[in-house]
Every structure is written in C-alpha cells, then in structure tokens.
Amino acid sequence: MALSLRSAFRKIWLTLSSVKTGVILIILVVIFSAAGTVILQRPITDPDDIQRAYSPAMLRFLDATGLTDVFHARWFVALMIMVSLSIIAASVERFPNAWRFFSRPYKSPDDNFRRVLPTQARIAVANEGVGLDAADRAFKHFGWKSEHIVRTSNFSLFSERHRISEMAVYIVHASLLLIFLGGIVDALYGWKGYLMLTPGSASNQVELKSGAMRGLPFSIRCDGAGEETYKDGTPKKYWSKLAVVKGGKEMSSKEIVVNDPLVFSGVRFYQTNYGRTGKLDKLLVSVTPGKDVKGEKREISLSMNEIVALDADTKVQLAEFIPDYVVQDGHVYARSNDVVNPAAHLIVTSEKTNKVVNVWFPEIPGIAENESSPYILEPKDLKTEVFTGLEVSHEPGQWAVWCGVVLMAIALTFVFYVVHTRFWVLPITDDEGCTMLWIGGSANRNRDAFEVTFKRLVDQVQRELKPAFAATDKPAASVSRTTIAGG
C-alpha cells in the first residue's frame, strides 16, 4: 500500500514535471487570459454596461464561473499555482543531472564516449608529447585556456568555455518564479487606494478599492497643485507639491508629476487626477465708495465666510458661493459642482444703522439688493479651489518582480547567445599501431557554427604540427556526424 502510494505520488510528480504538462498549462493560461480580455470584466467595467451587454441568464452563468473577473477568480489563481508547481517540479526533476554535469565536468573521455561523439577528428602525430604540445599551442592561439589531465593510463588535454550556459535555463525558470513570488506578496500584503487633497489640507486616510479606509502612520500635506496645457488645450502637465508630515515634523517633500511619484517608507503617491472642487478659494472684489461715503476706490480679496471691514462702520462678508446656479421661485439653487455658472452672495452690514444688504454677483433680479449697498461692489476675479487626486499604493513584492525581470533578461541572453563548448585532445594508438591525436568537441547549441570553429581548431593543430612533423603521409580525417536531437 505504502509502495503504491509512493508510486502514485511519483507518477503525479513525473506528470507535473513533464514538458507536455507545461505546454498544456501554457495553452490553458493563454485561452483563459484571452477570454478575460474579450468578456467584459467586473472591476474595470461600469455595472450598467455589463447588464446591457449580456442577457440575465448569461450574466448569471458568467458571474458564477468567475468569467466576469477572470484574473481574480480562484480557478485562475489555482491555474497559476499549477504553472508554478510545474516549473518547480520540472526544475527539481532535471536540475540534479544538470548540476552534476555542471559541477563535475567530464574531462577525460573514455572509449565509449569517443565512439559516439558526433564531432571529432584524428591527426597522425610523431609521438604523444609533440601532438599534445601542438594542441596546447593551438588552444593558446585562439586564446582558450586548456587543462592538462593526468590519468594513470594517459595524458590528455581539456578545454571548455561558458560552462555557466548549462545553468542559464534554470535561472530563467527561477526568475519567473521570483516574479510570481513578487506578485503573490503584493496580492497578499500590498494595497491600493485613493487620496484626494486640496492645497493646504493634509490627510492620512486612504480610501481603498474596497471602499474601506486605511490610516497611514504619517500624513500627506498638499502645498499646491496645478495643470499646464499646450496651446491647443490638450493637457501637458499635472503637478502637486506634497509633503510628508509625521509628528508635526516635515519628513520629506516633492513636486510630483505624472510618471514621477513620491515614495515614502514603501508607500507611493501618484498623480492621477486633477480638477476643481466647486468651492471658492478667493474672490477679488473692487470696492468703490457710494454717494454717501467718503474714501478711495480699492480692491479686496475675500475667502469663504471671511469678514472684511470696509470702514469703521461697514463690514462685508462672503456668505455663499454657488458654482453652477439656477434661480427658481425666488431662491438660488446649485445645479452641479462644476464651476460653469458661478454666483456669489455677499452680505454688507452697517453697525450704526443696523442695515443689512444682500449683494449678489451676478445681480440676480428680485433677490439682490446691490443698489442699496453703501459701497459699489464689483467682482474682479474668481479663484476656485482645486483638488489633486493621488493614487496610493504599497507593493512590497515589486522588488522581487524587478529582480526577477533583470535576472531573466541576463539568463535569456545566456540561454540564446552563450554556448558551452568543450574540446578534448587525447593521444591514441589506432588499429595499425600508429600514434594519432584524437580531437573531440561538443557544444550545447548552435552546432553549425561550432562545426566551423572545430574545423578551425583542427586546422590550427595541424599548422602547429608542421615544423615538428612536416611530412604527414596521412591527411587528417575530420569525422563529423551531426545528430538530430538537441537544440
């Protein structure tokens, strides 16, 4: 029983680690991701749009199967876990072999190996020493290092380059796992939210995507925000001046723009939104004394509810600001929060006479008493309050992602462009009793180019032999058989 359990486990393990499983999983990920881009997705689509696009029965089915939110569905997560497990299993299954190959290079070829090696050549030499010396010089000629291998039975030469290339493919898969790990950490411990600030205000409460509030251990103060546009009116730049305040002290400050966030203790603040709150910031009013009052014409600036003395007796207060006003039945109402049709209500009071005058900009008939004001008030300029919308995110896993990406780029370069090449040079005695120099070579990829390199090495060895062994009666026999297997 125990044995069969183990064999069953072994079977599952082998299935999981096979390339076939890997490719089937890739195909499944492709199909479901494609579905996720074609079917409207809940998190990014307006609920009404989804209602309109599908019939109720269809929508129930899509919701039940999670197809309206593929990338957050449990089964999609399970699929990604399967992919990770498959990568791990495949690596664990193949790695020991590769590691053995990597850590203990095969330096001294035996007869069997020599028989089956596809790329090899034989050169007749006078004796072992001369042949090995020539080969040594040939390696030096190309700038390759070579090792003298001493065995009880023989001396031989071994030379190799870029052994690391054998490991590269494992590094690629490990880097993919590292990227996944970063994604998982962010899914579990990361969060994203939104923070709206008006210049001068500060807050430490971030509204998360779920609607919940999250408090930060510090607060963010906005010291200004604005936009710049091109001549044709398209937006050019949005900016906000932000400061991090902790315990009453300013810890950090930065003017952020789109593409350049503020980072403080792992929390990032991005410029994502900008607009007007519909509230008044400053109203500039020109004040001209009326007939009964002495004084000079001047300008005053008012903010909401601010009271400004016009003279010892008279005061003016900005009582109301309506960004988009409409008059109905003798009352003024706000239609929207967009500053498209603004109205302001000022109250002028005289203490002596106890007279209160309602001044309206613009002068709304039936309500405004602009005529009876002791000062003639005229609006000069209007500054409305702006707000800046900040995307706030905490992604502790992103460093794993970037490390994984960099690692993958390097490893892929090794996988595709760095070739592990090995050469063996061994003096042998052929069937007729002549001393021959056996040269063998192997490369783990790009074998066509390697054949050329090998040929050049053999030619060079022959050239190096010439002074010592000019009259070869046997030409070198370069035997090359290319195999089908392998990449």
Binding site: V19, I26, S33, F71, D260, P261
Partner: protein, 465 residues
C-alpha cells in the same frame, strides 16, 4: 513551332525592370511637379510618398523575381528597397525633429517606425542570410503599412502627461524590434514551408481561412436591408463622430453589405471545396478550388473598388441620429487594410501555384531556413521579454501598478507564452521543420492581433496605440 518559343526573350526580362523604373520615375516626376508648385521638397508627406513609390517598385520587382526567377531583378529590387529606406529614414527624422520626440506616440508614428525596421531587416536577411525572395512577403506588408499611414491621423500631437517618459522610447523601441523580428520569422517560416514542399493545398486552406476571417470580421458591420456600417467622420477635425462619450456614430452605406456578403461567399467557396476534397479524398475538387480562388480575387477587387468609391467622402444616413453624416476612407483604415490584405494573400497563393519549382531553387535549403527562423525567434523572444518588462516598469511609475491585466498587457503576455511554447517544443521535444514553422506563423498572427486587433477591438488603458 519550337522556334517561336526560343525567339521569345529567355526570361532575362529587362522589360519589367524598365517598366518599374519608368513608373517610379514617372510617379516621382509627378510628385516633383507638385512639389515645385508647393515649394517644400523635404516635407514628411513627400518623403513618405517617395518611400511608398520605392517600396512599391521593390515589391513589384521581388514579385517579378518570384514569378520569372530572373536574378537581375533582385539587384534592382534591393536598390529600390535601399532608396525606399533612405526616404523612410528621412520621414522618420523629419517627424522626430518636428515632434521633438522619437516617432512612437501614436499608431501613425508606430507604423512609421515599424515599416522602417521591416525594410531594414529585409535588407539584412537578404544580404546576410541570402534569403532573396523575402521581399516578396515583407515589401507588400511595408506597402500596406505606408498606405495605412496615409489614412491615419498624422498631425503632430503633443505628448499627454502619461506618455512623457523615457520609458516610452525604451518600451516602444523594444516592441518595434521584437515585432519586426517576429514578422521576419513569419516570412522565413513561409519560405520554409515552400521549400519543404508543403502541399499547396495547405497554403490554399491557410489563405482561405485568413480571407474568410477577414470578411467575417468585415460582415460584423452588416446592417439590415443590405447596408454596411462605417464610422461617421468629421472631415474638418479629421476625427470620428461620437454620439456620447465613447460611443461612435455609424453611418449606413446602402447595398454595400450585400456585396460584402457575396464576396464572403466567394472567399468561402475555395475553403468549402478544399474541405470537400479532403473529406471525399477527391483531387478534382482542388482544381475547382483553385479556380474559385481566381474568381474570389476578382470579386474581392470589385468589393475594394466599390468600397473605395462609396466610402470616399460620401454622406449617408445613420440609424442612431437624424440627418446625413459624412464619412471618409480615413474613417475605416482597418476595413481597407483587410480588403487589401485579403487580395494580397490570395495573389501570393496564386504565385505559389504557378511558380512552385522555380521558387524552390531560389531559396536556401529547408534546413537553413528552419534554422534562421529559429534564430530570429531567439532574437524576438528576449526582446519581447524586455518590452513587457519595460512596459511594466513604466506602468508602475505612471499608474502605480506594474500589472493591471489590461487587454494590451494580457495579449503581450499571450504572445510571450506562445513563443515560450514554441521554444519548449523545439528545444526539449525537438520540434523541427513544418510543425515549428506553423508555430512561428501562429506566433506572428498573435503579434499582429496584439498590435492592431487589441487597439481597435479591446481598448483599455493602453489607448495610445
């Protein structure tokens, strides 16, 4: 009898070279007259026009080489490609200077860079690897690209804040290089299939499926009573007309839908005959299918002509709003590209059918082609990886998240996965030759969908291109 044949000039065919040369000269002369009138010689539009003329000349010569096998055509075709590349480089440089940023910011600018890379790679493949007929496939793609550019919005628009980043250039350069390498691997895989003596029926099936899917997509614009919907176009502002935010206004061109339906039947016919031939195992159906391809090309050309005539600056009623609204060819660049692409694919098939054996003798052997296809994918795959990584890093800086499962992102990942699948099958399973070639072709299909399809069918955050 035999003498009459011999007396014909034995395919040295300077005629084609002279004809192409004369037409290039003529077109450039006409353009020159225009320029003299307007003053500015080195404007971007003129350079692009020159590039188009040269690419078209090169395409004709490459095709001529495919048909007659005359070696000398290749030399002239190369020269024409070089000339086109120079003009194209001028257009890119002009654009760059004018806009103040590399030409990557809109679909128009991306196409400009893409065509440039494709032409450059064609020359590389030809000179470095000796794949001479590759221009037969890549030049028409370049021509379609330049024609599309004439229709897309080309005014220099300032960069919106999200695009003002160095990462834009890194990301898009990598994307263009990767996509061009994918295009090259596609062309090489096609050459491989020809050299590998894949049956012409396979190509028949492939081109038919391609064309049928184009017309199926086009017919999604079919309206009741045989009308055909195209987007209403504001000629003055060169933009689409919107009813409300994000909702386009469509106008209905009467009767054009019927024609499209007819052409759909015509392009489906070869596929039906092909299926009949395989199911019944009857070779006779194949020759019928080949004849049906011929008829379908004629009808497709008819559809193209009618579409050009009706959609060019007409005014038509709409179902969603009162009154007549104008439309223009510029409003439907992708329908136009689909129509041209369909004709082109079928012509390529006919070319293959006629000049099969000669073509084979002009290609490197199948093994070499297979290997170069693999090599181009070895170049494309790391570039794709870096392109996605650069995009993710940029998204993280701009939007606060490196992965949003946005359609463009997802499809880029799908492309990456398809090529990853190819590499796994090839390296560990030893998939060579025909199966690998089909995989390479599939990969390029996904690339094209990611590039064009996603932008127009599945818009998301990645709305610039």
């Amino acid at each position: 009898m035999a003498r009459a044949r011999v007396e014909q000039p034995p395919a040295t065919g300077m005629t084609l070279v002279v004809m192409v040369g004369l037409s290039i000269a003529f077109l450039l002369f006409i353009a020159f007259l225009n320029v003299v009138k307007n003053g500015n010689i080195l404007s971007e539009a003129n350079l692009l026009y020159a590039a188009l003329v040269f690419y078209a000349g090169a395409g004709a010569l490459y095709l001529g080489f495919g048909v007659t096998g005359t070696e000398s055509y290749i030399k002239f075709a190369s020269v024409a490609t070089w000339a086109g590349l120079v003009a194209n480089t001028g257009a890119v440089a002009h654009r760059w200077y004018e806009a103040g940023h590399p030409p990557f910011a809109s679909l128009y600018e991306m196409l400009l860079s893409f065509v440039w890379t494709l032409a450059a790679l064609t020359l590389v493949a030809e000179k470095r690897y000796g794949v001479k007929v590759i221009g037969t496939v890549t030049m028409p793609v370049a021509i379609v690209g330049v024609v599309l550019m004439q229709l897309l919005r080309s005014d220099v628009r300032p960069l919106v804040p999200a695009l003002q980043s160095t990462w834009l250039h890194v990301h898009v350069t990598l994307a263009m290089l990767a996509y061009a390498a994918c295009a090259l691997s596609f062309a090489l895989a096609m050459m491989f299939l020809i050299q590998d003596k894949a049956k012409t029926e396979v190509f028949l099936a492939a081109t038919s499926i391609f064309t049928v899917s184009i017309y199926a997509a086009i017919l999604s614009r079919f309206e009741r009573w045989g009308g055909f919907n195209v987007i209403a176009w504001d000629a003055e502002n060169k933009t689409e007309v919107f009813i409300s935010r994000g909702v386009r206004l469509f106008v209905t061109i009467p009767d054009l839908g019927w024609l499209m339906l007819l052409v759909f039947a015509a392009v489906a016919a070869p596929l039906v005959f092909y299926i009949l031939a395989t199911v019944r195992n009857n070779e006779g159906f194949l020759s019928v299918a080949n004849r049906a391809v011929f008829i379908s090309i004629l009808l497709q050309s008819l559809a193209l002509v009618f579409f050009l005539l009706r959609a060019r600056d007409g005014r038509y009623p709409s179902l969603d709003a009162d009154g007549l609204y104008p439309t223009s060819l510029a409003a439907s660049p992708f329908i136009l590209a689909g129509l041209v692409g369909g004709i082109f694919a079928n012509l390529l098939y006919l070319l293959l059918l006629w000049r099969r054996d000669d073509l084979e003798s002009h290609l490197p052997d199948a093994d070499t082609l297979d290997r170069i296809t693999y090599k181009t994918i070895c170049i494309a795959f790391p570039l794709l990886t870096l392109m996605i990584a650069a995009g993710a890093y940029w998204a993280n800086r701009a939007w606060g998240s490196y992965w949003n499962w946005d359609p463009k992102e997802t499809w880029a990942a799908i492309t990456w996965l398809v090529y990853a699948g190819y590499l796994h099958m090839r390296i560990t399973r030893g998939w060579r030759g025909r199966r690998a070639a089909y995989f390479a072709i599939l990969g390029f299909g996904v690339v094209m969908f990611t590039f064009f399809g996603v932008t127009y069918l599945l818009p998301g955050l990645h709305a610039y291109a």
